[in-house]
């Protein structure tokens, strides 16, 4: 049971990190062209 919990947490952490990585890299980058236009 403990092992299952650890694995579950591992998968959730991996997904959370993945989500944050995408959001903070690609998610911020898509605003650059708009920022450049608005000066």
């Amino acid at each position: 049971m403990l092992e299952l919990n650890r694995k579950n947490q591992g998968t959730a952490m991996q997904k959370l990190f993945g989500f944050l990585f995408i959001l903070l890299s690609a998610g911020l980058t898509v605003w650059y062209p708009l920022g450049k236009l608005l000066g």
Binding site: L20, F21, I22, A26, T29, W31, P33, L37
Partner: protein, 278 residues
């Protein structure tokens, strides 16, 4: 004995972190890019319009590829017998996300190439952490001596034929006939599922696949092609009888497949018993 199977949420062959197409949030990234294209157009800034337009196209392609990849993965995990997707759409989408981010930061956004590379690498890593990779292992267990490709192809063709019958069926106004046809089709699907679970059954059920499904398809097609008022009551009666016969035949087929499984079990019991004796 109970038919319940042990629940194993972490079996990589059976479970995926993404079993449906939901969760594709990459389309959200298109909104600021779309806005930047519109603003560039309003400001008549042709260079920015073209550069931002390309960035929009790249992100759109990435989101689209991701959708296809997730759909393929969903299909893979919901089918018992299938091959791994031929084109690794998720892998391509992950790489494309990195390239789109690099392009948007560096060329469209005016950041340094190093910043672009850094952001691109981070986004690709994030993609693979979040969405994972494409399924790689073919699910072709228990096929026996029949070619797995033949089984997959036959099942796909049969399902397509049944779907086409269901399509024609909607044109039949007679409720009784439609009901009978629906029962026959449901049983046919059950037989196909049985074959999918134990592909060796395909040898036993070959006639069913080739003759009966094709037969029903032809009958339904000819029936729907005739104007409803031209169909005689006698013809409808004959068709109704035929469908009852078909239903009985399908029931027999299901029973035969179950018996076949029973026979397999008997053989396995006998073999083990012999081995224990020796």
């Amino acid at each position: 004995m109970s038919n319940a199977k042990r629940y194993n949420p972490f079996d990589p062959k059976k479970k995926s972190t993404f079993t449906s197409t939901r969760g594709n949030f990459l389309y959200l990234f298109l909104a600021p890019l779309f806005l930047s294209v519109i603003l560039a157009l309003l400001a008549r800034n042709i260079e920015a319009f073209v550069l931002n337009g390309i960035a929009f196209g790249l992100f759109f392609a990435t989101a689209k590829l991701n959708t296809i990849g997730l759909k393929n993965e969903h299909a893979y995990h919901t089918t018992l017998l299938t091959k791994a997707p031929k084109t690794p759409f998720k892998f391509i989408a992950g790489v494309m996300l990195g390239l789109s981010t690099l392009y948007t930061a560096w060329i469209a956004g005016g950041e340094t190439p190093l910043t672009g590379l850094f952001l691109g690498a981070i986004s690709t890593t994030g993609y693979f952490l979040y969405y994972g990779f494409d399924p790689k292992v073919d699910k072709l267990d228990n096929v026996g001596d029949i070619s797995a490709e033949f089984v997959i192809q036959t099942l796909a063709e049969s399902r397509a034929k049944l779907a086409s019958i269901e399509n024609d069926m909607s044109l039949i106004s007679d409720r009784e006939l439609r009901g009978k046809l629906q029962v026959a089709i449901d049983k046919a699907y059950e037989i196909l599922s049985n074959i999918e679970e134990d592909p060796k059954d395909l040898r036993v059920a070959r006639k069913f696949i080739i003759v009966y499904i094709d037969g029903i398809k032809k009958v339904t097609k000819s029936y729907t092609e005739l104007p409803q008022e031209e169909i005689k009551a006698e013809t409808k009666e004959r068709l109704s009888h035929l469908l009852s016969d078909v239903e009985q035949r399908f029931d027999k087929e299901i029973l035969r497949l179950k018996k076949n499984n029973q026979f397999d079990l008997d053989v396995h019991i006998d073999v083990l018993q012999e081995q224990i004796k020796n």
